[in-house]
């Protein structure tokens, strides 16, 4: 679907009431998902569908509050109130600048690892390889919605609290890792290797026990008679 420029919609709205298609225009213009658009207008998904699907998109909205809200957002773009969440790539330089000043590391006895790109992925609740995808110059991948929100929180804390904020964040990540039976150090690659809780929820993964050949232990093999 092609959407007009905002100036055209502003002019158009001088002659007609706000319709469902104007909500779709705002969703497209602000680059929102449907869930985000529903939050913007304070409406449930069912109501969104009722307003915007099919021929109903060309009818005036039943809810005058939503009509006036949409009109204000179109006529006065400065009234937009949804935050713009930063990408992890935008927060990374700030993180690196603060991380250089902290004594916290992911070091083990064998590998002294300062807080860098690897730790950044873990501190945002993802894998150590995620920052490579986020920071790629040629094909950067978008972060999940929860990671984008977390990046906003991390940026705010680093800006306001600096090294102290990063250390508190690091300690909290270590606490979460311990609760999952993991250790936040250079050996940790992902958060997904949790305890047996995940496996007990659904179908067990991998080969069922006892279905294949048993690997013989050398001691058993030695004591076994042909």
């Amino acid at each position: 679907m092609l959407y007009p420029d905002i100036e055209i919609v502003q002019t158009d709205l001088q002659r007609r009431p706000v319709c469902g298609k104007d909500l779709l225009f705002l969703q497209h213009w602000l680059d929102l998902s449907i869930a985000e658009a529903c939050f913007l207008f304070g409406m449930p998904f069912s109501k969104w569908q009722a307003c915007t699907e099919g021929e109903r998109a060309d009818r005036p909205l039943d809810d005058i509050g939503v009509s006036l809200l949409a009109w204000t957002l179109i006529a006065f773009p400065e009234t937009h109130f949804l935050p713009r969440y930063p990408t992890p790539a935008e927060v990374y330089p700030l993180y690196r600048a603060v991380a250089e000043k902290t004594p916290r590391t992911l070091a083990t006895a064998y590998a002294p690892t300062p807080l860098g790109k690897t730790a950044y992925g873990l501190l945002l609740g993802r894998e150590i390889t995620s920052p490579t995808r986020w920071l790629s110059e040629t094909d950067p991948r978008p972060a999940d919605p929860q990671v984008a929100r977390l990046a906003f929180a991390l940026r705010g804390i680093l800006q306001l609290r600096g090294v102290g904020g990063l250390e508190a964040w690091f300690d909290r990540a270590g606490e979460e890792a311990r609760a999952r039976g993991l250790t936040l150090n250079a050996c940790m690659t992902s958060w997904s290797r949790m305890d047996d809780r995940k496996q007990s929820r659904g179908r067990p993964r991998g080969r069922p026990a006892g279905s294949g050949k048993k690997r013989r232990r050398p001691a058993d093999a030695a004591g076994e008679r042909p």
């Binding site: 007609r16 009431p17 706000v18 869930a35 985000e36 529903c38 939050f39 913007l40 207008f41 304070g42 409406m43 009818r59 005036p60 039943d62 809810d63 005058i64 509050g65 939503v66 006036l68 809200l69 009109w71 204000t72 957002l73 006529a75 006065f76 009234t79 109130f81 935050p83 969440y85 501190l123 945002l124 609740g125 993802r126 999940d144 919605p145 929860q146 990671v147 984008a148 929100r149 977390l150 906003f152 929180a153 991390l154 705010g156 804390i157 800006q159 306001l160 609290r161 904020g165 964040w169 909290r172 606490e175 979460e176 890792a177 609760a179 999952r180 958060w191 949790m194 809780r197 995940k198």
Partner: protein, 232 residues
């Protein structure tokens, strides 16, 4: 978004444990959010939210969500979504400007309700602090948007807003400045429902039309009400 004071700090002590499903519910109540709004704040889908709520004492499996909940509970600067103002705050900004307007609406105090798509009587209820929780989410957002509009455009913004409300009313066949103006009597736009009779008591002074034949109800045979006739 401005965090509220902790109702009980001990309830939310996360020291020595990971974030669990119940902590998400606590966060929602603490910030006075609806489930849909909390899903937006945390970047979750609704099914995922209820998945966590069904296991309140289990760890949240997504470490990003865990860290986000912890950050939101402990750091005001982690909050991205602005706080929606109370009706009294928005009304105060409106009252300050309405006296300078070229063409203020009749009875400006109650007209504020109409200007946010609600009834005239709603304003008095909001200003006394009653019914705050019944303000529709879209109207809460409208309060915030209007606050920004008044701050940036002043009287010009207010006049544009009032003119727009008049236009929306006229396009629906209403006179916005009429004392009996009420959005609730908005004629239905859905043609499937347009032929149906109006729900509720007819307006005062309306001429009653004789009712048509009643539709047959299931479970009761048509006939005189009361006792069943004895079997023949």
């Amino acid at each position: 978004m401005k965090p509220l004071a902790f109702p009980d700090a001990a309830q939310i002590d996360l020291t020595g444990r990971g974030v669990c499903g119940k902590d998400l519910q606590f966060l929602r109540q603490w910030l006075q959010l609806t489930v849909a709004d909390c899903c937006y704040v945390l970047g979750l889908t609704t099914p995922r939210w209820f998945e966590y709520q069904n296991r309140p004492n289990e760890l949240v499996d997504d470490a990003s969500v865990s860290l986000l909940v912890w950050a939101l509970l402990n750091y005001p600067e982690a909050h991205a979504v602005p706080e929606f103002p109370a009706a009294a705050e928005a009304h105060a900004g409106y009252r300050r400007l309405v006296a300078h307007g070229v063409r203020p609406p009749a009875d400006p105090d109650t007209a504020f309700g109409l200007l946010v798509g609600q009834r005239r009587a709603s304003v008095a209820r909001w200003l006394t602090g009653m019914g705050q929780d019944r303000i529709p989410p879209a109207v809460r957002r409208l309060f915030l948007v209007l606050q920004t509009l008044f701050a940036t455009r002043g009287v010009q913004g207010l006049e544009a807003w009032i003119a727009r409300a008049r236009f929306e009313a006229a396009s629906r066949g209403f006179d916005f400045d009429a004392p009996e103006m009420n959005w609730a009597r908005y004629p239905l736009t859905d043609p499937e429902r347009a032929g149906q009779s109006r729900v509720g008591r007819p307006p005062k002074g309306a001429v009653r039309t004789p009712r048509g034949p009643k539709t047959q109800r299931l479970g009761r045979p048509p006939g005189p009400r009361g006792r069943r006739p004895p079997p023949a």
